[in-house]
């Protein structure tokens, strides 16, 4: 049995307008940072999965990311596996 914590980073597909990123980028100069570009705001999802093995757990997170955690029509995702979570 493996219990593992994962992080799923969800981003808007490149090329799509990111209103949030645009607004943040627009706000930064007034705070003194004019040296920031390409701001994109996405989601960061953490979860703990119990599965037979690490590989199984990861495969399941992958599937969750496709089906529920991201919207494949407009988003992409990346998975980070954290240290083995304490049982």
């Amino acid at each position: 049995m493996s219990r593992r914590r994962f992080e799923v980073l969800v981003s808007l597909k490149p090329g799509l307008l990111d209103p949030q990123g645009k607004a943040v980028e627009g706000a930064l100069p007034a705070l003194g940072w004019s040296n920031v570009t390409g701001v994109r705001v996405g989601k960061h999802i953490e979860l703990t999965v119990d599965a037979g093995s690490d590989e199984q757990a990861r495969a399941q997170v992958e599937e969750m990311a496709v089906r529920l955690l991201s919207n494949p029509v407009i988003e992409t995702f990346r998975i980070l596996a954290a240290e083995e979570a304490n049982p």
């Binding site: 209103p19 949030q20 607004a23 943040v24 706000a27 007034a30 705070l31 705001v41």
Partner: protein
């Protein structure tokens, strides 16, 4: 000679929506509404301030997160420090929290859905600029309309809020009873509005400016505006 009408500044941030409504409500209640632009550095000669509802900067990133850096906010902080009454409604509440002028934060509603409907709120204290004319226990029917109105504070902070009487309004039933089913957004302690220690800065999620004109809703917001105006007049 007619009495001086308290001048109430209403700040328009990019994306503010209820600014015109707030000015109208102030005027209906006998005050003088003064539009203030987010990029202004001075507030002019106002006796009270309202940060209105809406979606400043689209509510992007976090509600109020960007607006709290608006140029006018320095003047707002100074005004509050000097004891001037400052009321944040909905998005204005969120901005004041982000600016650290009020405790806590507002996150997405428990339902994850925007909600627009009249709710009942119970006055918890008359020690605030917005409620000094009311009595704890009074129940007001006022509409809410927000997607991110769930008030949260950390566990360490909550006892201070409650202990110091910083809670101004709570969601309740028609007779003032507290029950989770009346907690429209899942707020901690059913909190609908809070104040700072001095009581001159108040934030609330319900929209009293949409509850002054009997043609388009309830009139329970009138009492809150009356309090604000008399608080402001005391300064005049």
């Amino acid at each position: 000679m007619s009495e001086p009408r308290p001048r109430v500044g209403v700040i328009t941030f990019p994306g503010s929506l209820d600014d015109r409504d707030a000015i109208r409500a102030v005027e209906t209640m006998g005050g003088q509404g003064v539009p203030i632009w987010h990029a202004d550095t001075s507030l002019g000669d106002v006796d009270a301030l309202i940060l209105p509802g809406g979606f400043s900067y689209g509510d992007y990133l976090r509600t109020g997160a960007i607006a709290r850096f608006a140029r006018v906010m320095e003047a707002v902080a100074a005004f509050a420090d000097a004891g001037g009454p400052v009321v944040g409604v909905c998005n204005g509440f969120q901005i004041l929290c982000e600016a650290g002028m009020l405790p806590g934060a507002l996150i997405r509603n428990r339902s994850l859905r925007f909600v627009c409907k009249p709710v009942d709120v119970r006055v918890e204290t008359s020690l605030s600029a917005l409620t000094e004319g009311l009595i704890a226990g009074d129940v007001l029917r006022i509409p809410v309309k927000h997607g991110e109105g769930q008030f949260v504070v950390t566990e360490e902070e909550l006892p201070r809020l409650e202990g110091d009487g910083l809670v101004v309004l709570r969601y309740c039933g028609p007779d003032g009873e507290l029950d989770d089913r009346h907690n429209v957004n899942g707020s901690t302690g059913s909190i609908a509005g809070v104040r700072n220690e001095r009581g001159n800065v108040v934030g609330l999620m319900p929209h009293p400016e949409h509850a002054v004109d009997p043609d388009v809703g309830t009139t329970d917001g009138q009492a809150l505006f009356a309090s604000l105006l008399s608080f402001a007049a005391a300064k005049v």
